[in-house]
Assembly symmetry: C2
Homo-oligomer: 396 residues x 2
């Protein structure tokens, strides 16, 4: 499974947390494998939680609307117990039920707790966690429902859970690394397919559509997080592919990624339609050197801030003396910005099995955006690449 | 623009609200046209707000991280003023800046307010709204930041804003209706394209990929909200296309939709691989009659609960005596579940220029899921369809 259970247990023990309660789409799916369509499609709307008790004595469970219970049995959830709320009509008394149908029918027939807060309170009481220290993720639960939980459980010690999940997710399981590899692969194939169409007169939008279609064929999901910009538009950091048509001699910047089995990618490559000129080549060379030196420095025990400094110093020395940047990389997982940050004040030490996106983007209005971003897994001996496209500026 | 400004002003006046503050991706984009990639891609993470004062005296503005300011000038935002927070490096002093670049550069050079709460407080103070009644949407702002706003503005009367936005969004502008029409069209073309592949032995997953590729070619965005299930799997309400292969004589249920210029679709159709048998045809006929009678009853001034009752009574009378359902439709817009609900306790009256999805789904484990869902705009004379696929059970 994707959940790093061993790390979760250790962090809960270190922080005297008796149970974790995930409430955001990312963390519910991470902690339980449970994915509910409406929870992901309508953030802030349907309430879905996953309760993960600290010790093996109590069982994990889900809190979900009755209309989302099919995802418990027909999906990848490894948590099989659920507390439901609300009415949902499904006829369950047929005589040709499969095993899956029977498990689904049992969930639908369990008591209706009325609302998500009451269902969560019942789940916690059943687990004797009503006087416990509970790390409840603060962003996914509606404020009024969290208030109701506080009132119903006056003796519980409720602390914010978002930072706890972030700490757990820093170290990836092998299943997570395989999914991240799949996300990178779909993204790389999408970039290659889009570049096959690139020639003067083709619109940015046409490259984007080809990227998206290719990602789908590879089993990925486009999530409106790929930036494609050409010429001076490439200097807009979040450039969305538009009607602008490609021009000979200009660069095309790709930055971003997709989802693959819920896991994210974030990589960047620069192409040019023919020779983009000396300044682009010189600047790109400096940025590439910065990203490459940073990756060479990555291994367990190295300070994040030191990797940042190596990237910055290299880019400045190799050709962009005025280079500025708030960070030169970040973790990635089910969320696009997992810990740690490769930033000037990041005192954290890099750990084995962290997955990092390493990048040195440069944006100059009226000129171009230039960037190389690669994804690596931290292994005992150093960084192992998940990206396989070459690092060169691609002339098409 | 998509924002129904006249209705917003009226509702604010009726409820003595001096300013609206949108904080969720849906409502920020709705109220301002501003779409920030990371706000949409990472719900609960990057903080973006839109401030809409009640009267024409004060100007609307955005609160955004410095790294998201390019979307203010290169996108569809009709709000041009922004309060930024955080550091973001972009070189802005080149000599070949376009008008757009210059506007972007000016936003980047404005003061850095440090964090989103401080930027929001500054924006409200500048508009003399620090002692005003503020409807702040409660789901998109991080709780600690809302608390900071409360402390900085002790004389402001802060009330929950989510329900206010929901009320405004009930009545669609013509621009919204055109986008909803585009979302329906992309979805219909996707269903037709997927069904072209449908034959025994083809996997559900293959239909889904063809649906998604077609949606992209039509300018839409797949958002993992289309359910495709075949045979008994179709009875799982949120059925996600899987490895199951189509079998002759079984039904295929499509339910859900896509995004098109941020607007959503939600429609449903049933197909069958050859003759699905009498019970499927009889039940589908009843469900179709229920959905059709409900649409015929829709016009301004009709109670939502009455439309619900007509749908329910028709389905029961026409062939499914045990039919149960919590609602038979809902509004749709930039959110998949806009007001009103066509539900038994919905006392609201239907209004002109509401857009409604009308549906009569039936799920029976071990048998099938059967459903017809259409989308209509409420006009003075009655319901005008946005869907154009026929209502028949499609035999392929």
């Amino acid at each position: 499974m994707v959940f790093n259970e061993a790390r979760a247990r250790k962090i809960m023990a270190d922080q005297s947390i008796d149970a974790l309660v995930a409430t955001s789409p990312d963390n519910v799916t991470y902690a339980s494998g449970y994915w509910a369509m409406s929870h992901w499609a309508r953030p802030g709307g349907p309430q879905v939680y996953a309760v993960i008790p600290a010790d093996g004595g109590a069982s994990p469970c889900l809190i979900a609307g009755s209309g989302n219970l099919d995802h418990v049995v027909d999906g990848e959830s490894w948590v099989t117990e659920a507390y439901r709320y609300g009415f949902f009509a499904t006829k369950t008394d047929g005589d040709a039920l499969s095993d899956l149908d029977r498990r689904y029918a049992a969930l639908l027939k369990a008591p209706d707790h009325g609302d998500a807060a009451s269902a969560l309170v019942a789940a916690l009481r059943d687990r004797k966690l009503d006087r416990a220290r509970l790390a409840i993720e603060e962003t996914g639960i509606q404020p009024a429902l969290l208030e109701k939980v506080r009132q119903e459980l006056p003796h519980a010690d409720i602390v914010p859970g978002g930072r706890v999940f972030r700490a757990i997710r820093t170290i990836k399981t092998s299943e997570e690394i395989e999914r991240l590899r799949g996300a990178v692969r779909a993204t790389e194939h999408g970039i290659v397919a889009a570049l096959r169409l690139a020639k003067p007169g083709v619109a940015e939008r046409d490259l984007m559509a080809e990227f998206d279609r290719t990602v789908i064929t590879e089993g990925g999901v486009p999530v409106s997080s790929m930036c494609i910009g050409s010429g001076p538009r490439s200097a807009l950091s979040n450039c969305q592919a538009g009607d602008r048509r490609l021009v000979a001699g200009e660069v095309i910047r790709f930055d971003g990624g997709v989802r693959y089995r819920w896991y994210r990618s974030d990589i960047a490559r620069i192409a040019a339609l023919g020779d983009p000129g000396d300044r682009v080549k010189r600047y790109y060379g400096a940025l590439r050197a910065g990203a490459e030196r940073a990756i060479e420095a990555i291994r367990p025990g190295v300070r994040c801030a030191d990797v940042f400094r190596i990237a910055m110093d290299t880019v400045k020395k190799e050709g962009i003396a005025h280079f500025e940047r708030s960070h030169t990389g970040h973790g990635i997982g089910i969320n696009n910005y997992d810990a740690p940050d490769l930033a000037p004040k990041s005192d954290e030490l890099i750990e084995e099995n962290t997955v990092l996106c390493v990048e040195t983007p440069y944006y100059e209005l009226g000129f171009a955006g230039l960037q190389l971003e690669n994804t690596v897994v931290v292994r005992a001996h150093g960084a192992e690449p998940l990206t396989s496209l070459g690092n060169e500026l691609r002339i098409v």
